[in-house]
Symmetry: D3
């Protein structure tokens, strides 16, 4: 049985306990997960990409089956570069579903890379990076929504 590697791409601005849940559950299914932060010049991010890499690496410091990388190419090209045969995605809602389906279909068509989906746990469906940023903007406590190991990195942009 060959080693199975999945790419978990996203912007992770910031990485939440919802993302953490997907990675934990995904590790039951594959041998290795590469968390991959995509560059996207047309969007304004709350945390710079170096900070986001640092936060996620802090979370998985003791998990040898998780790697954290950034990339600036087509997602399927980066998957092939790191030896991933699958893309892993979490879906929270119907809106997510339609977007993910379109992208997954296109990725399969142009590269043959398959996407598998885990459904967000019910207790986490309302947690999104967008809402965490909204709370941060008004100086509210977000320690219930991001992984413990990354909290100390949130304070200083």
């Amino acid at each position: 049985m060959k080693k199975r590697t999945a790419l978990f791409p996203g912007t992770f601005d910031p990485f939440t306990i919802g993302h953490e849940s997907i990675v934990r559950r995904g590790l039951a299914l594959v041998d290795e997960i590469v968390i991959a932060i995509g560059f996207n010049e047309s969007k304004n991010f709350y945390f710079p990409i170096e900070k986001r890499l640092e936060m996620i690496r802090a979370i998985y410091a003791n998990e040898p089956r998780v790697r954290v990388e950034s990339y600036n190419s087509l997602t399927v090209d980066f998957a092939q570069e790191v030896g991933a045969h699958f893309i892993l995605r979490g879906i929270r809602s119907v809106n997510d579903f339609e977007n993910e389906k379109t992208i997954a279909d296109m990725n399969r068509t142009i590269s043959g890379i398959e996407t598998f989906i885990l459904l967000t746990e019910p207790a986490l469906t309302h947690i999104s990076s967008t809402l965490v940023r909204e709370l941060l903007r008004y100086n509210r406590d977000v320690s219930n929504f991001v992984p413990q190991q990354s909290i100390h990195l949130l304070t200083s942009k």
Copy 2:
């Protein structure tokens, strides 16, 4: 790395090329798939369960990584009985998504068994067992919608 087995439960009345696509793509992700036909006394089926078992076994006669079984218990209990750590499901549409999410959440809650999802390939989203049965009722050709190896078994109920 331990052997990974997934349960692919359904009624498969009949098994279509849409189901076949999910199994083929799922085998890239896990080592073994158990296709499991659930009894359900409250529904009327077009093909009796023995015929459905026969049809699906004909399709996978030469695929040692696929087993075909029937069951009359909770899906998660049958998964544990056959040593499956995952449930595999295909989703075609938004309606499917909501139903699958509810069932997957309940299955995780009561047993810890995780469900992973593959999205139906675009060219197959309109193919369903319901529509195949509708064609069969009016004696229309369905050979484009069910796997080759099972076609000869469709004629005689």
Copy 3:
């Protein structure tokens, strides 16, 4: 320019002002509409098929561009039988959309017959045959929800 005929299939149990709106607006686009009531032995209907034919024919007694028929075959076969090159459907909601898309895709695949969609007018989206039957069961007035010309036929089953 050749004559354009569309089939408007349904169960119409009963035909509502929502259906009437689709036919009226469809007649702006095609030259003739054949309203077609499908037999379906597995469902229990409120009004027998003869009564439904009578009600709809009363509504279009003075409209030579509308014919009303019943059929017991695949919808696409009946379309070809009456010379219809299109199927016309109204969509009220997201649930409708997904069902209609699946059926329309299958119909195009097996026969080449195209389906075009009109969207239900906002003020009529809550009117359905199901809700009219619910009102009839409790002897409530439904005269705001079915076309004028068919009201006198509702009283006696």
Copy 4:
């Protein structure tokens, strides 16, 4: 300020902790809630209506602001009979939303009675009467899914 009464209609076969959450949160908004079990001859129920009344009354034995009744009429007529000016409904998902919208629009049109909606708490979205019945059929423990005070009544049909 006049007394505000809301009707909470359903089949409650059985009443779950999801329903209990809606009632508790609804009581913050209105002064009184009438839980109303509708008769529906065309459906087969798991628990007879007397048992369902008994279970729900056991749950609210010490809550004077909740009444539990059964009815066999249009929901809006029963609302008026018990002096309710609102209908209260919980929505778990997109599928629920579309059905509820259609019914709420029709109820407003024929009676002027308004429906207000509470959204199911994320941790409860996967709990439905359907899934509880499925567990009961296979003799699984359901004590996490129905209110404490009704558990002793589940054993004997």
Copy 5:
């Protein structure tokens, strides 16, 4: 029975007859509604916030149960500041539903404040601030889509 106050937050750029319908129907359920216009520096608005406040205050000049305010904080914090125990929202469509559910779940989690939902009346579901602005851009008449009392304020930005 204590006084019940609900916050109705939005951007209201401009306030339409769809918003007016939600407020009117919400006043049947609560004693007071605070219409609250949120600042959002990252968006470009058609009407400046002062103009929007003026328009909405003109509409409710004779309704002592409605207050109109602007705020620049988390919505739940502003709710507590004005003594509102509920947030009121209108939902037009499935897309709205998913967004509102996520926000309502987060608001309940961080503050305990409950959101109740009214469904947009069918005849108004197609009316949105976005479409009114589109009409204004091309100098079309919008008097059917905004409340009478605010029309004279639309002309001069």
Copy 6:
């Protein structure tokens, strides 16, 4: 029978084989289609409007029943200007459906112009201008996703 003209409005940045399929199938239903590219100053486009006009005109150089125009006004006003009595739209997904319904309802309300919908063929649902632009950004081959006759125009912006 009078000539039937439909407007097919969009941004077409760029025009894909998905758009081409809608036009081809729409020509079975109407006599003439006017493809209309809307100006929209607030969006950044990948291809300038002159280039998009040139690409689409290349595709329909030999189809006298198709005209290609740009416009800077309300869509319904431009429809009337070119003598179109209908607007034609393709819908790929549930998200599309809701947006299209809102716009179609508003267009009917302000002008009486009707919108008819064709559903995207299953094999094309994952093809969008957005995804084609994403591929172009990374210099990937897009010749499977845009009509043959326009490919030579893609290379030079």
